[in-house]
Symmetry: D2
Subunit: 256 residues, 4 copies
């Protein structure tokens, strides 16, 4: 039976600021990526989010980001691989402490925003991140864009890697995501998006924006849950996956 | 044979800013308290300080502080016990990750500056801190001012507590430190300061500023190493302790 | 004809985080207090809020706060009067630049949250704040709680002071606000609250929670606009003030 | 008589952290660039530095930087021109308030570190910065690398621009600074460096690293004063300029 993980970013509130529909999203995913206080989140939010995820039995990952709260970690910053390594150790360590304080176990690490995007294109930066994850706990899974340097860096040092795919994004013939600034970057047709996801899981293939068929194996699908429309799409995906006999399970499940 | 630990605050540099004489201080202490990025320190500094301490065999503690880099964590802030708990879990988790990434093991936690002083006088705040430490790792030692609520809160929940004493500070008859704003708060005479320390270790007693003899058992002495004069005093203390057959050893030693 | 200003806190969003219903509130007030990036707000938010207020002809004030974004400036911090002075110059200067860049003129300064509350009870801190405001522009109005040290400190140095009153809060017989933690601190009955406001404006009197009649002259009423209920209350107050022939006008109007 | 300004970065301390030899540097320069609290500096440091500069009669400029205290504003960040504009208004406004509170007048704005370097190569970003400066005060001088987009953007909108040259750096044949990573980027020979500076001021020419003679008019020389060697070099430059009958005067002097 085919398996897939569904992950979503959570715990992005900060102080008096509320963001996201965390409670509702938690019902639909098998893994969550929890912000670690740099681009979003704070210790009170982290604690509450971790406690809720553990209570609901959803697998937990750390979601470290750039030191840019004002930019929500979405702006590229010229950090060195050594800085990336130290920043990831710091943030993953902080989140791991909340998970273990609540009696749980951290499953994975997924870099956030610009750190994720920069790493996808930069092997040295990816190596800094992968070394950080391994140093904190060599059993952690590192989540990166399918076909990206982040996955490659994890595998180079024997770290478990989960390949992330996107239901609603177009791919170039080189396997990279088409930039949101390009026409056709977003797959607006939900039925088509779902068909593409099922094919990526079952056949490891997807049609690139240029028409070629490219190879892409996904272990986890990223979904957004910050509005009702997004939640509706998630429910539709879940239903389709069930009908296709694809099991939804946390990403570390495939490494067992 | 009597035993005492000597601890010092380290890793207080931040970004382009250098503070302290970390390399020199490390030669003279048995334990170090490393800043966790809130009142001082950053991930690059934390990593380097942890790596050096492990290389030199000095025991490592986390030194969590208030979220006030501009005030170096020295200004009281009205945080709740729940916030204190979350802030300590966060910072201790971050530092612990660097220690474990370097193959070491975290020994203790000592709150910094205003957090330490506020906790000494506030049992609820102390409980928040003690619960945080226990939640992260129940084998950690919590360092608090001798005779203070921080020590009491640790003991209430079965956490190992180390009582900190100061060589160069006067004590009130209630066992609290005399405020630096009061006359006579600092013991300027180094020989007298050393005699007091030896007595606190051997007899568990010290003369209060009001003349009474008070009871005070210390497990660890806090020393400063940010200038040559301070380092000279440390060398003098070490020499005196040796002559008195007092062994200098990391604080967890006494719990073995 | 009696006059009153109605003020509200605005521009409290930060980065990706949205807070408040700024557009709607602006329709109902004569003055706004705009966050300056320390406890809330960021330069993009400040620019947009200032531009909108100027377009709608609403008078603008700076709303400086403590350096505590995580606590939204609501937690007391032990800062010195000199620090308060420097922090207020910094934040007021930053906001003033946006106002002048948009062709406007800054009307007032109202400290936020814990800074406002601390100053109300601390004359030295209030003096630091008042000196800062005067140093930046001696024509600015300083807004403080009616009968508080902030008003006193402004008047001592010849700065215009606006006395702020609250429609929905009970007063002690000493003229201070009853703490929200005490029973009866909030005036839940909207009609009663409005009657009290009208009396404070027309007669300079209000009944204290202990039954005595106390003296209180208000120049500006603080209203909240972060939910529909609050907005409804504002509309009701405005209607009542009109019926009582009380003119709603920016606070600097009374100094002309 | 030829004229030149000598500028230096000041006020880079932060909280408990001390950086630079501000008192000594102030004796040797005609203009200072004072950090505005984002990449360095804090309100207490800004106030003190401004007060000292005014007392000594040295012209003051704002030195706005990226929101990256941990990286000292030296790491490139992908901010938009709109963000650059808002960030510069904010920081310049804050510093201007301290200058005016002390009875002085702000002379110029010089972007710091990565913001300066990014702007030199990016006309849109430079336009955002130039618009910000003009919006705050159209009499301000904007300092940019000679021959760079920052100077061009200032001139496009009628803002006074000061061209900055470096005594100890090599230039490419396109007029840009040779990257510090390239061999020969630094002019180590102090006598040669001084000859080059004199020629840039008197003839508007310098020899590029590739041997060609390029055109470069400088209005201000940037010097560093963070160590004794640097201060010695400054004294040597001043002596040479005097011997060549070049007057050292604040940059706004040339626009009078």
């Amino acid at each position: 039976m085919d398996k897939i993980d569904i992950n979503s970013d959570l715990g992005e509130s900060f102080g008096a600021y509320r963001l996201g529909m965390d409670e509702k999203v938690l019902e639909h995913v098998s893994s969550v990526n929890i912000a670690c206080g740099w681009h979003a989140g704070d210790p009170m939010v982290m604690k509450k989010t971790v406690d809720t995820a553990i209570k609901l039995g959803v697998a937990i990952g750390a979601h470290p980001g750039l030191p840019d709260l004002m930019g929500f970690g979405r702006r590229e910053m010229a950090i060195t691989p050594e800085e990336a390594k130290a920043y990831v150790i710091y943030q993953v360590g902080a989140l791991k402490a909340f998970v273990e304080a609540a009696g749980g176990r951290l499953q994975h690490v997924k870099p956030h925003g610009a750190l994720y995007n920069m790493a996808a294109k930069d092997l040295k930066l990816s190596r800094g991140i992968a070394e950080a994850v391994k140093a904190v706990d060599s059993d952690l899974v590192l989540v990166g864009l399918a076909n990206s340097y982040l996955v490659k860096a994890a595998e180079e040092i024997g770290l478990k890697a989960a390949r992330e795919v996107f239901a609603d994004r177009a791919y170039g013939k080189d396997g990279n995501l088409v930039s949101r600034k390009e026409p056709g970057a977003m797959i607006e047709d939900q039925d088509l998006a779902i068909k593409r996801v099922v094919r990526m899981i079952k056949e490891g293939k997807v049609e690139a924006i240029t028409g070629e068929e490219i190879s892409i194996w996904g272990n986890t699908i990223c979904i957004h849950g910050d509005n009702e429309k997004a939640l509706g799409f998630v429910k539709k995906i879940r239903k389709a996956l069930k009908e296709e006999n694809i099991d939804i399970a946390p990403m570390n499940n495939r490494f067992l």
